[in-house]
Amino acid sequence: MRFLDQNLEFTRLPGALESFHANADETQLSAFAAAVKQTGGRFVALWGSDERKRNSNAGGYAVHVAFGIAEGLALVTLPMHAENPEYPDLSEIFPAANRLQRTCFDLLGIRARGGDQRPWLRHANWPADYFPLRRDVDGARQFEAHNEDYAFVRVEGDGVHEIPVGPIHAGIIEPGHFRFSIVGEKVLRLEQRLGWTHKGIEKRFEQLPLAEAHKLAGRVSGDSTVAFAWAYCLAAESLAACTPPPRALWLRALLLERERVANHLGDLGALGNDAALSFGLAQFLRLKEDWLRLSGELFGHRFMMDAIVPGGVARDLPGGASEKIARQCNAIEREVRILKNIYDEHAGLQDRFLTTGRLNPALASALSISGLAGRASSQAWDLRTQFPITPYDQLDVRIATHRNGDVAARVTLRFEEVFESLRLTRIILTQLLENKSTEYFAPLPAAPDGAFGLGWIEGWRGDVLVALEAGPAGSIRRCHCHDSSTRTWPALEHAVMGNIVPDFPLINKSFNLSYSGQDL
């Protein structure tokens, strides 16, 4: 089939997700990217793979670009020769491709022709000609660690000075480096240097059995463990032609909405705290702790890690769980409504939230921003309504969007999403009660060598994508994980411009992006 009147023949990938794949040449890839841009589609992810020794004809490298279009997820693969592997620079069409293209070179040695050529994940801790994702590199070698001299863009002018922050930050957060160029208190420019928590996840996948690597996927970003585990399992189930029992899918949705609520509660507290209302932090962290404790009791893990497994879920709900969850939903909803009222009425808090850290809708669109940050800037993307897989096709999720794109919008959106997730949880519980089946797991059949599958799930922060290719005898040939943070980080550089330095922590928290998820 063809999309967007382009000369590219797609085939639908097997499985629940509406996903399509096509091989392209350079001209076709560029033309397709331009057509996606023109028709209001979006760029989702870009990654590379080493195809050498696969077969003598196509042996070389490949770059894979995933686009979100009206029909679903369209994946375009561009094969490249083993000598001098290069592909057209897509960052002019989609600026979000910039860091991914640089990542691709750092890990595989395949280069975009043009655009920013600075390293991204590679700091000074392995040589420039060492490409860990190549098949003839085992990735085990360790090199001496050095401090890196990175070519930050300098802002010149009277009174401009720099504030370097990180990699170790002042709070309890992940490491990253922020280089502020400021005049007085005002931020002229922010440049991020990330990659500090790069721990070789993609290489590690290739050493794990396909049937067990959902655990690694669930640790790409700990706060999104459910979303990543589901995306991984969706990909694994697609390529192994496995359909989990309906009960398992309802339970997965229950887990995903619980993860959303847990993170939103924590963020709402932290956002109050960053605007000097520590009352908010104490209250919301108390609610979050109640929430986590029940998750721990019912699913054996406070963050529900390893609760989703290929073929279904690890365990069913224990007896009496429905009543406990329902009671907790009511209690949390009652308290969050009180707290929302307090936040809304608090002049000092609203003064800090309103118009701070604005990301306008046009920019959000240009930067391919999705998820929570996108929805707060009029980007009405939510996989739960757009390409709903079971059970979301029966849930009729009401997505919230705002157009102000400021901290206040991202706060309001979190409140609305908490209430919506609580509503969905109640429906899911009803469905689980009606569903008398006790089956929550179907064994995953052996996957044929070379089988390929995609998983795409709307996590609490945004969409997460897992692209999985099976190797021989139950191994993994290539697994790429993509967190929406990777695309959203550059938006923070824009949102902070013109704001004062002391508002940066608040703006940063309102996005609350994953470092580990982008560093891999």
């Binding site: 990699p167 957060i173 490491p175 790069h198 640790r219 962290l285």
Partner: protein
């Protein structure tokens, strides 16, 4: 303001009893001198360092500040600089890209430089015993457990460790004998 005060009153005090120190968590023999303990009491200052974690451990370290665990009530608080810290709370595995930063933070910490390694990835125990770096292992990008890069006093296993386990680890590090 009325709503806010009412909410505080209705909520009441939620803080629970802290756990006791557990010497089984100790991996080295470093003990604080009795005299120092007397001076320090439990007024401990912690610098948290994420040396490459998946951010799961950070979620539980955050929880230490919630009203249930209320770590500050024990006189223990987090500082923004290693120069102000008595103890480094390090999550891992140690990413190669974080080695220099972690070493510099360790150097900047005044003696006695207590170090608590947090999580299965950072401490080579628990479910990942014998597997330095936990599920991430050791590679070009990961140096594995924290003890591979800086000396460690107490290791708190778990993926992630619960807030109670974390409190216990921290209290163990400052318990004398």
């Amino acid at each position: 303001m009325y709503q806010l005060l009412k909410q505080i009153l209705v909520t009441g005090i939620k803080t629970e009893a802290p756990p006791v120190a557990d010497d089984a968590l100790r991996v080295t023999t470093q003990r604080l001198e009795q005299a120092m303990l007397k001076t320090l009491g439990r007024a401990l200052v912690i610098r948290h360092i994420d040396a490459g974690s998946c951010n799961g451990c950070e979620l539980e370290i955050h929880a230490l500040g919630n009203p249930y665990y209320n770590l500050e009530a024990l006189g223990i608080r987090f500082a923004a600089s290693p120069r102000h810290a008595d103890l480094l709370l390090v999550t891992g595995p140690v990413a190669s890209n974080m080695v220099v930063a972690l070493q510099r933070a360790y150097e900047a910490t005044p003696a006695p430089k207590l170090v608590v390694a947090v999580g299965d990835c950072g401490c080579n125990t628990g479910n990942c015993a014998g597997n330095s770096g936990g599920i991430f292992g050791e590679s070009y990008a990961s140096r594995g457990k924290v003890a591979n890069v800086i000396p460690v006093d107490v290791a708190v296993p778990g993926c992630p460790p619960t807030p109670l386990a974390l409190m216990q680890g921290i209290l163990t590090a400052i318990s004398g004998k």
